[in-house]
Amino acid sequence: MKASERNRTRVGRPVQRRLKATYSWFDERTGATELLHKGLYEAVPSRGSWAYTLGSATLVLILLQVFTGIFLLLDFTPSVESDWNSLDYLRTSDPFGNWVRGLHLWGAYTLILVIGLHMMRTFLSASYKRPRELNWISGAVLFFLVLGLAITGAMLPWDQAGYWTTVVVTNIVHYFPLIGDGLRQLWRGGDFVGPLTLTRTFAIHVWVLPFLLLTFIGAHIYLLRRHGEFGAWINYDTVSDNPDREIGERVRHAEPPYPTRRIERRYAAPRKTDDFFPNQLFKDTVVSLGLVLIIFVMGLLSGAPLDAPADSATLSYVPTPEWFFLPLDQFLVLTPHNPLIAVGVFLIVGGGALAMLLLPFLDRSRDRRPTRRPEVLVPVMLVVFIVIFMAVLGVNRLYSLSP
C-alpha cells in the first residue's frame, strides 16, 4: 500500500464516519429519511408516463414565477409616478433586469400553455372520476388563480398596455348585476383608474393570489398522493381471456397507493406500474428542463416589452389584450349591448367556468374512453374550437384596426 493511499483511507474513513454520524443525528431528530421515502417512493402507471410530466412541469413553472417575481420586487415600485420609471430603469440600466422580467413574462406564457395541456390531458383520460373529483376541482381553482395572476400581472407595468388593460379589466366587473358598480369602485379605489388602482392590483397580484395559489397547490398534491396517479384507460386494459381474474390478480398485487378503494374494480389498479423514483422523476425533470430552457432563451432574446408611459388622453392607442385573453376580448366584441353584456360575460363565461369546475359531477358516465363519453367530449370540442376561432378572429380584428 502506497503512502498516499494509506493516507487517504486514514483521512477518508473518519470523515465518512463523521458525516454519517451527523446525518443520523439529524435524521433521528427530523425523520428526514422517512420523509424522503414517503415523498419519493410511489408507484405510477407505466404507460403514457411522458404525458404525466405536465403536472410537475406546472409546479416547476409556478415556482419559477415565485422566484423571478421576488427578484422583480427588488427594483419595482408600484406607484403611478415611479412605476414606469422603475421598469425603464430595469430595462436600460440593469444588465440582467430585462432578462429577469423576460423570464417572468415568458414563464407566465409557458405556464398558461402547460396548465392548459395538463387540463386537456386530465380531461381526455377522465382522471377526474371517483375518487379524484376534488383533484380536478382544486386543479380548476388553480387554473383560475393562475389566470387571475396573469391578468393582474399584465396590469402592473404602468405603460399604455398595462394602463388600458387595467381600465378594461376593472370595468368588466361593473356589469355584474346590482353590486357591479360597487365592485368596480372598490377595485379602482374611485370612479376612474388611478393611484389606488395600481396599489390594490399590486397587493392582489403579490399577496392575495399567490397565498391562495400555494394553499391550493398543497391540497392538489396531497390529493394526488392520496389517490395516486390515474394515468389513462390504456393502463387498465385486460389482455387475458378471463378479465375478471386478471383484474383480481392485479388488485391483489398492487403496489401502494394502489389499489384505489371506493372505485370501480376495473380502474382500481393499473396493469403495470413503475417507481416514481427514479423513472418518473427523470422524465419530469427532463420536461421541466426543456421548458425552463425555452423560457431562459426567450427571456434573453425577447425580454419583456414596455410601451410608452400610460397616457389617459391618447386618441390613437389600440388597447390589445394579452394573447390568452384574446378569445374573451373577442367575446366582448360579439356580445351585443345591454343587458346582454351581463348575460354574455357572467352567465355564459361564468357558467362555462362553473361547468369546468364542476365537471366531475356533470360527467357521470362510468367509461373513461373519450369516444365513450361523447356527452362531454362533443360540447368541450365545440367550445375549444370556438375559443381558437375567437383568438384568430381577434388577431385579425386588431390587425385591421391598428393604423
Binding site: 365513450r372 360540447p379 365545440l382 375567437m390 378572429l393 385591421s400
Partner: protein, 475 residues
C-alpha cells in the same frame, strides 16, 4: 382593323350568367375540399381500428372516385367561368381585379397542378396503396393542403372585393384584410359540413334504391315483405341478398355524413355572426343592406334554411333513436320540436315592409301594435342573437344525445325505416340551397360596387376610361 368594343350583353343577363356559374363553381369546389378532409378522417379511423373498418375504407374510396368526376366537371366549368364569363363578359373588371390581386390569383392557380396530380394519383392507385395506408393518408393530407391553400388564396380575392379597406392594398394587407380570416374560417367549416351533407344526400338516395330493390325481390319470391333491413339481416344471414348489405352500408354512410354536417354546422352561426360583425365595421353600407335594406328578407330565408338544417338533423337523429328504442329518444323528439319553434321565431319577418327605409317612408317606424310596420321581436339584437344561440345549444344537445346512444351501442346498424331517409335528403338539399343563398347575399351586398366602395358595375360597363369614377369611399 378591329375596333375596340364595349362589353356585350346587358347588366341583367351578365349578372345572371356570373351568378349561375359562380354558384355551381362554389358547390363543386366546396365539396372537393370537404371530401378530402372527410377522406383523411375515414382513412385514419379505418387505420386506427383493429378490424380496419371496411365501411370507412369504402366511403373514402367512394369519395375519391366522386372527387375525380366532380373535379373534372368542375374544371370544365372553370374554363367556362374564367374564359367566357370573367374575361368575355366582365373583362374590364377582371383585368383590374387580377392586376390588384395578382399574387393571390397566381398562388391559387399553381396549386391546381398539385391538385390534379394528387387526385389522379390517388384515384388510379387507390387499391395498390391498400398495403401502404399511411402513404395514402399522407397523399390525402397533401391534397387537402393543396385545396386549402387554393381556397384561402381565392378567399383573399373574394373578401378583398367586399372590404378593400380603402383601396389598393399591398399583398400582406390584402391577405389580412378585415374579412378574409372570418370568411375563410366560415368556409373551412362550411366545406366539410357540405361534404358531410352531400354524403348524407347520396347515401339517402342509395339506401332508398337498395331497399326498393330489396322489397321488389322479396315480393317476387313471395317471401314476407322486408320492412327493415335489420330484421332481414337478423333473420337469415346466410341467405342475405346483396342489396341488404348495400342498404346497411348506405345507412351507415348517411348517418356518418349527417353527424359531420350537423356537428360542423354548430359552429356556423357563431362564425357567420363574427363575419357580419367585421362587415359592419369595415363595409357599413353592405352590412346595412343585409340587415335593414334590400337583402334583409333574403337574410331571413337564410336563417330559415339554417334552422331547417338543424331541424332535419334532429328529426333524423330522433327517428333513428326511436326506431332502435334508444335511451332519451323522447327527449330528442322534444329537442326537434324546440328547434322547429326557434326556427319559426327566428324567421319572423323583421318588418312588414320590404326594407327599413320603406317602413320609415310609410311612417311606420314604430311597433306593429302601435300601427307601425316594425316587429320589435324580430330584431337581430337581442332576439335573433338569442335564436342563433338557442339553435346552437339545441343542435349540440341533439347531436350529443345521438352520439351518446351510439357510443353505448344502443343503435343497431341497418335498423331504419325508409321515411327516415327523407330527413337526410332534406338536410343535403338545405345545405346546398343555403350555400347558394349566402352567395347571392354576399355578392349583392356590394351593390352597386364590384370592389366595394372603389369600382362600380357601371364603371366596368363604360369603355371610355376617362369617365369620372363614381366610386370614392363608401364609408
Amino acid at each position: 382593323m378591329i375596333a375596340l368594343t364595349q362589353v356585350g350583353g346587358n347588366l341583367l343577363t351578365n349578372g345572371l350568367l356570373v351568378a349561375v356559374v359562380a354558384l355551381a363553381h362554389v358547390q363543386i369546389a366546396a365539396f372537393l375540399i370537404g371530401a378530402s378532409t372527410l377522406m383523411i378522417v375515414s382513412e385514419s379511423v379505418s387505420l386506427a381500428r383493429r378490424d380496419r373498418d371496411p365501411r370507412h375504407d369504402r366511403l373514402a374510396h367512394g369519395l375519391i372516385k366522386s372527387s375525380l368526376f366532380v373535379f373534372s366537371f368542375g374544371a370544365a366549368l372553370a374554363i367556362f367561368f374564367v374564359l367566357f364569363v370573367l374575361s368575355g363578359v366582365w373583362g374590364r373588371f377582371f383585368v383590374d381585379l387580377s392586376r390588384i390581386t395578382f399574387w393571390s390569383f397566381f398562388l391559387e392557380a399553381i396549386t391546381f397542378f398539385g391538385e390534379v396530380v394528387l387526385i389522379y394519383t390517388l384515384y388510379a392507385n387507390w387499391d395498390r396503396l391498400d398495403n401502404h395506408r399511411l402513404g395514402r393518408i399522407g397523399l390525402l393530407v397533401l391534397l387537402n393542403i393543396m385545396q386549402f391553400l387554393q381556397f384561402f388564396w381565392i378567399d383573399v380575392v373574394a373578401s378583398y372585393m367586399l372590404t378593400p379597406n380603402g383601396g389598393e392594398l399591398n399583398f400582406l394587407n390584402q391577405v389580412l384584410n378585415p374579412t378574409n380570416l372570418p370568411l375563410s374560417l366560415h368556409r373551412v367549416v362550411g366545406n366539410v359540413a357540405w361534404a358531410g351533407a352531400a354524403v348524407a344526400l347520396v347515401a339517402g338516395f342509395r339506401y332508398l334504391r337498395a331497399t326498393r330493390r330489396l322489397e321488389r325481390t322479396s315480393r317476387l319470391s313471395g317471401g314476407a315483405p322486408a320492412l327493415s333491413v335489420g330484421a332481414m339481416a337478423a333473420g337469415n344471414a346466410g341467405a342475405e341478398p346483396p342489396e341488404a348489405a348495400q342498404a346497411r352500408y348506405w345507412d351507415w354512410a348517411g348517418q356518418w355524413g349527417a353527424i359531420w354536417a350537423i356537428g360542423l354546422s354548430l359552429l356556423q352561426p357563431f362564425l357567420g355572426y363574427s363575419y357580419a360583425k367585421e362587415i359592419q365595421l369595415h363595409a357599413y353600407p353592405s352590412w346595412y343592406s343585409m340587415m335593414f335594406g334590400d337583402l334583409s328578407n333574403v337574410f331571413l330565408v337564410q336563417i330559415t334554411l339554417l334552422g331547417l338544417i338543424f331541424v332535419a338533423g334532429a328529426l333524423y337523429f330522433w327517428r333513428r333513436m326511436k326506431e332502435a328504442g334508444a335511451q332519451h329518444h323522447r327527449l330528442q323528439g322534444i329537442v326537434a320540436i324546440g328547434l322547429i319553434l326557434v326556427t319559426a321565431f327566428a324567421a319572423l319577418p323583421a318588418w312588414f315592409a320590404p326594407t327599413y327605409a320603406d317602413a320609415v317612408a310609410a311612417a311606420g317606424n314604430k311597433p306593429f301594435w302601435e300601427g307601425g310596420l316594425l316587429n320589435p321581436f324580430a330584431y337581430f339584437i337581442p332576439y335573433k342573437v338569442g335564436a342563433l344561440f338557442a339553435l346552437m345549444t339545441l343542435g349540440l344537445w341533439s347531436l350529443t344525445s345521438y352520439l351518446r346512444a351510439y357510443s353505448r351501442g344502443q343503435l343497431r346498424p341497418g335498423l331504419v325505416g325508409r321515411r327516415t331517409q327523407f330527413t337526410l335528403l332534406t338536410l343535403g338539399v338545405a345545405v346546398s340551397v343555403m350555400m347558394m343563398v349566402m352567395g347571392v347575399i354576399r355578392e349583392h351586398a356590394r351593390q352597386p360596387y364590384l370592389i366595394n366602395g372603389e369600382l362600380t358595375i357601371n364603371q366596368q360597363q363604360i369603355t371610355n376610361n376617362s369617365a369620372s369614377p363614381v366610386g370614392g369611399t363608401s364609408r
